[in-house]
């Protein structure tokens, strides 16, 4: 039996969704604008997009690029962030560089990257990679810096080499913080994925959306927004489940329930 408080907690995100759709429906009916279909019209267009082979291939291509960009960024950023957190020289070298890159919108770099690498998968994956890297580096850095010195000393006394200490003490100790960065990175991956497809319109979910907009198929536009949004929510919920499993040992922190899991 779930307590009523737990049930309310579970139902809250669903209620929020229904509420949002209801407001949309009422607003659309009130405004009577061609470019603003009702929620029901938009939802009705979703199955036809997902049933269309061409669209499905596009969406899967988007997801593939996102997975590759995200995966590469995580594999690159975690070791770099951990090294920066434990080694002052590495931090001193990379910190100014990252400070300069951080506020630059990664999509703004796309024209140059397109010029060099073309408009294909490589360019879009690279932009996703850039978007994801920074929060993951930053959080890995913070996590590694916060590792208790005495914990490392305890490991050293057991005979762990500096590299072993980095992999077997700093990495797990910083994992809660690293995964916080990865979660931010995951949402950014979705954002940069759509953005990159808006700029280099060749394939992908962003391409479907903007083609529909060009052709005035507003129900498809809004249906795509629903699909992309749902993708984001699902990915985040899956990630949150994995994260909670991986760090169930950690002290509970301030946890804003920002997910559907």
């Amino acid at each position: 039996m779930m307590s009523s408080a737990a049930m309310a907690k579970r139902a809250a995100p669903v209620l929020a969704c229904i509420g949002l759709l209801a407001v949309w429906q009422v607003a659309s009916l009130a405004l009577k604008n061609d470019s603003f279909p009702t929620a029901i019209e938009a939802i009705r267009a979703v199955p036809s997009i997902l049933g269309d082979k061409e669209s499905l291939i596009n969406i899967l291509a988007s997801l593939r690029r996102m997975a590759m960009g995200f995966g590469a960024a995580v594999l690159f950023s975690i070791p770099l962030g951990l090294l920066m957190g434990r080694n002052a020289a590495v931090a001193a070298f990379f910190n100014p560089l990252l400070m300069v890159i951080y506020p630059v919108p990664k999509a703004a770099l796309m024209p140059i990257i397109m010029l060099w690498l073309g408009v294909g998968d490589l360019t879009k994956t690279l932009v996703i990679f850039l978007g994801v890297s920074l929060p993951v580096i930053y959080h890995s850095f913070q996590g590694a810096k916060a590792v208790q010195e005495k914990m490392l000393w305890s490991g050293a006394a057991m005979g762990l080499s500096p590299l072993q200490r980095l992999v077997r003490i700093v990495l797990p100790a910083a994992l809660p913080e690293i995964l916080t960065g990865c979660r931010t990175g995951l949402v950014l991956a979705l954002i940069t994925m759509i953005t990159s497809e808006m700029i280099a319109r060749q394939s992908g979910a962003g391409n479907i959306l903007f083609n529909a907009l060009d052709m005035g198929q507003y129900d498809t536009v809004f249906a795509m927004i629903i699909i992309v949004g749902a993708m984001g929510i699902c990915l985040d919920a899956i990630f949150e489940r994995v994260r909670a499993k991986l760090v169930r040992w950690s002290e509970p922190q301030f946890d804003i329930p920002l997910s559907f899991s």
Binding site: K150, S154, A156, A157, P172, A173
Partner: protein, 280 residues
Amino acid sequence: MAVPARSSEWVRPVARQEPASAIIEIDRVSQVFQTSARKDHVALSDISLTIEEGAFVSILGPSGCGKSTLLYIVGGFVSPTSGAAKMKGRAITGPGPDRGPVFQEFALFPWKTVLGNVMYGPRQQGIRTAEAEAQSRALIEMVGLKGYENFYPKELSGGMKQRVALARTLAYHPEVLLMDEPFGALDAHTRTRLQNDLLNIWERDRKTVLFVTHSVDEAVFLSDKVVMMSKSPGRIRQVIDIDLPRPRRRNELLLDPRYQKYVVDIERMFDESDEAGPDL
């Protein structure tokens, strides 16, 4: 040592050399820290000390006297500015499993269970999992945590965490235990219980212990020898042999005039100096 060591299944029998041979020698060690204002802070000044094998030695002094720094130098975690520390005649250049630390902050691995923490050292030394687990379970029982093997550190109280930390260090059989105010973060009741249990464990195999504390009672109760330090700069004031019978029982000892005299004498010595004594 007059009392022969009793070996037991969790203690790897240590080949005992002739009694009272030096295991740690600290030779004119000084430690200077550069503070921000280009001023040097002399944490330790010209410390020389010999610690005999099997002895329980406390380093007692007010906070800021460098007593923990001295322990870190013996541990190899910190290099002295000048002078040298030796373990069995060899210069200490870094940490090693022959010197096992127990810190006030516990420093447990929070992602490992109690059993995982205790097994960490033996596994690192290449002992087979089954064997390491059996040894670790025995140690966990010895420190009074049977039934808590699969708990994570966050689920334990401070006293229990420190018991795990002690078991984790004992598990890789260090020849010297380096205890850095291990009971400093615990409440009075838990502290007393852990002192008693530490003595019981220690009296079984008489490992060499270097124990840093700022509590006079604790130092006298536990030690064979109390090294009194003063601060600014950190120096050894006096080394006092505590000639009280073992095994020591707290309830007997507290009534023993010899114990009381040690405590009062040491407190008086700290009071007589200009500086604030320990515990103040």
